[in-house]
């Protein structure tokens, strides 16, 4: 399953969906909002946006790349948009494989590819302004190019 969602990701349900009798390993990667601190300020939440439907298609392409490279029984990638509060999941990748090696490798591959090719962007909203991650454009004086 490849999906872009607006609300919380049901991580447990995604893992349950991956359980199969022909697979002996399920690797799960969950990316969550981390509270960074700098200059006396801290991250309050992250906010994500996407170019759809290109982003949906790119997630599915990553799934196809994984199936071409590793023996996997199940791949799901779900990315959340909008505001994601500290500790909450922004992305979840679940890979089931007969053995653990491909499951670990494929889940790592998926998150790295997401960060390379999927048109999704995040904004860190700090207590003193915001920054577009990757562009370093925003309203935070110390950490970004001012608008």
């Amino acid at each position: 399953m490849f999906a872009i969602v607006d609300g919380p990701i049901e991580v447990g349900a995604l893992v349950a969906d991956a359980q199969r009798p022909d697979c002996g390993a399920i690797a799960t990667f969950v990316g969550t909002t981390r509270v960074d601190e700098s200059g006396g300020a801290s991250v309050e939440y992250l906010e994500y946006e996407a170019y759809r439907p290109m982003a949906d298609r790119k997630l599915a392409e990553i799934g196809a790349e994984i199936r071409a490279r590793w023996e996997v029984g199940h791949v799901s990638i779900v990315h959340r948009l909008g505001r994601v509060d500290p500790g909450e999941a922004s992305v979840t990748i679940v890979v089931a494989s007969p053995r653990r090696g491909p499951a670990f490798e494929a889940s790592r591959y998926a998150i790295e590819r997401i960060k390379e090719v999927v048109p999704i962007w995040k904004r860190e909203v700090w207590s003193d302004g915001y920054v577009w991650v990757g562009s370093q454009v925003g309203t935070r004086g110390s950490a970004s190019e001012r608008l």
Binding site: A50, H79, V117, I120, L147
Partner: protein
């Protein structure tokens, strides 16, 4: 006319998320970019960081557009 979409930091700098441009049939993306910065000068410093998509697929400066196409201006992606 083509539709131009802006995302992330590019939308911030352009001050809009969407516009339309009148371009000749067969214009290259490089030519489209010139028209974009004529209208949104604040985007110019971002040029080297940007990628482009035409109709939902990555495209390069020498690729061409036709009336009705959708061009997206994509800052460095930062999902995950």
């Amino acid at each position: 006319m083509i539709k131009v979409l802006f995302f992330g930091a590019a939308a911030d700098r352009a001050g809009t998320r969407e516009t339309e441009l009148d371009v000749r049939d067969g214009a290259t993306l490089a030519e489209v970019w010139k028209l974009i910065v004529e209208r949104y000068a604040h985007l110019a410093p971002m040029r080297d960081t940007l990628a482009f998509a035409v109709n939902g697929e990555y495209a390069r400066g020498e690729d061409t557009v036709s009336p009705g196409d959708e061009v997206a201006v994509l800052p460095p992606v930062s999902g995950g």
